[in-house]
């Protein structure tokens, strides 16, 4: 039990290196969702003939 806990700190530090990638992926996901929502609103906002 002690070995996994002893190595946990090491894994956390390794994960810290990839935190920016995760951050950018989340930002990209949010940006994409926002753009798709804006496109849908723009399409449904057309006035009737």
């Amino acid at each position: 039990m002690i070995t996994p806990i002893a190595h946990a700190g090491h894994w956390f530090v390794s994960l810290a290196y990839f935190a920016p990638v995760l951050g950018f992926l989340i930002w990209l996901g949010l940006t994409t969702m926002r753009e798709r929502r804006a496109k849908r609103k723009g399409g449904s906002g057309k006035p009737d003939a």
Binding site: H7, A16, P20, F24
Partner: protein
């Protein structure tokens, strides 16, 4: 690798911030670069390299036949010394000329030389020199034009080069006695035989351009250089612009994946992630009947290929994301259009990972040149008793250089991608949105590079 590839083994205890925070800072630099590019780089600038030739006398000298013959002769001579010392010399890797010359001076040292001075290897390529010489002699003896070689198959593309690099990195990173001088010499002879057969089939220049692994490898790095040759003219062009006319033939993306993936595996090989997995893989292969030595080699080969595949898949995922923004391009076409952006990343990986190998073990060529066979009593240039000076660079300075290489390489890649997007997308909006995905790819490779570098100092 057998040699002191990770000679920065004295800990980096005097950094002002933790190593992982350098990774975050590098990501911020990339994000800021992205914004700066979007604002200050509104038109493509690298698609036209702006070639400015040197004075005619300079070009005439540099492209002259005597210089070409001399460079080829030097390449053949050095190749001969590698074979001779590998077969006849002391079989300890660090006491013999062959392994240090091949794995340090040739494999690593030629990369910065190519980035600065262009495709210098083309002139010194021993296989090209021998092929052209044999062709010339054969034509003189036959007193008639030689039959035309076969047309190089389009579908082969750069696949032979990718396969050649996989074979070389397998020798370097997988084969247990891969750094043994005799193994290096025999591998060089086998590679030569295959290369000469291919040259006989497809022609010397066609093979060197497309399939000869090292010629293709150093040509890619040489495209970063501001120095270029166009026919009989040598001159200057915008740095990085040589990459914009890289033809994305079949096999180009796998080739770049091999280049980045093999360096990644070399570094990640010391990470706990791999050192935990390797014994289990080795046990599996032993259960299939392999000897312990071969089982370990099989495990390492699986690791090498897996790393290459991971790099390939990561790039293709990013391209799939870029394709989703629109523009009418297939993922295949987009991958081909942006594959050249991986070359600065490959450069960054090589320079960052092998910096200390070049600076430390590279010095050994001084005494190995005086005593190539490693036998007592030989001292051709009076330097046989010289020693490596490990004080040339501290571990902390090494880390700063490594981070610098990684950031510079990835910012260069971002600039290339931005420039290409402006050239191929009709709408600036689509160009910028496609680059969001390239930014994620660059941040991913940056994080991977710095993590691997940190692992080599555990």
């Amino acid at each position: 690798m057998f040699l002191l590839a990770h000679a920065g083994i004295v800990g980096r205890s005097d950094l002002p911030i933790p190593e992982w925070l350098f990774g975050w800072a590098a990501a911020v630099v990339l994000a800021v670069s992205f914004v700066v590019l979007a604002v200050l780089w509104p038109q493509p600038r690298l698609q036209d390299g702006g070639f400015r030739p040197f004075p005619p006398i300079v070009s005439r000298v540099l492209t002259s036949r005597p210089v070409d013959v001399l460079c080829g002769a030097i390449g053949v001579f050095l190749f001969g010394v590698v074979i001779w010392s590998g077969l006849a010399g002391e079989q300890t890797a660090t006491a013999n000329f062959a392994p240090t010359f091949v794995f340090v001076i040739f494999w690593v040292g030629l990369v910065p030389l190519s980035v600065v001075f262009g495709d210098v290897f083309r002139a010194f390529n021993p296989w090209r020199a021998i092929g052209r010489t044999v062709g010339w002699i054969a034509a003189k003896v036959a007193r008639a034009p030689m039959p035309a070689p076969l047309a190089y198959p389009e579908r082969l593309g750069r696949w032979p080069a990718a396969a050649g690099l996989v074979a070389f990195t397998t020798l370097e990173l997988v084969v247990s006695d891969g750094s043994k001088p005799e193994t290096v010499a025999i591998a060089a002879l086998v590679y030569s035989a295959l290369t000469f057969v291919a040259m006989a089939l497809y022609g010397v220049e066609a093979w060197c351009r497309n399939g000869e692994a090292f010629g293709v490898y150093y040509n890619l790095f040489g495209r970063i250089s501001p120095l270029a040759r166009r026919g009989d003219q040598v001159g200057l062009r915008k740095p990085l612009s040589g990459l914009t006319d890289l033809r994305p033939v079949s096999g180009t993306v796998p080739l770049l994946a091999v280049m980045i993936g093999s360096t990644s595996f070399d570094g990640a090989g010391e990470a706990p992630l791999w050192t935990n997995i390797a014994p289990h893989l080795s046990d599996f292969f032993q259960s299939l009947g392999l000897s312990p030595e071969h089982a370990l080699e099989a495990a390492f080969f699986v690791g090498l290929i897996a790393t290459i595949v991971i790099v390939y898949c990561f790039f293709r995922l990013g391209i799939a994301g870029a394709q989703s923004v629109g523009g009418g391009f297939t993922t295949e076409r987009l991958a081909g259009m942006f594959v050249h952006t991986l070359v600065p990343i490959a450069t960054a990986y090589v320079m960052a990972h092998y910096l200390t190998l070049l600076l430390f073990q590279g010095q050994a060529i001084e005494f190995l040149a005086s005593n190539p066979l490693g036998k007592d009593g030989t001292d051709l240039f009076g330097t046989a008793n010289n020693q490596v000076n490990y004080g040339v660079i501290s571990a902390t300075t090494t880390w700063y250089y490594q981070v610098g290489f990684v950031v510079t390489g990835h910012v260069s890649a971002l600039a290339l991608a931005h420039d290409k997007a402006l050239a191929v997308y009709d709408e600036a909006r689509l160009a910028v949105r496609s680059q969001y995905w390239m930014l994620v790819i660059m941040v991913g490779f940056t994080s991977l590079a710095l993590w691997i570098l940190s692992q080599s100092n555990q």
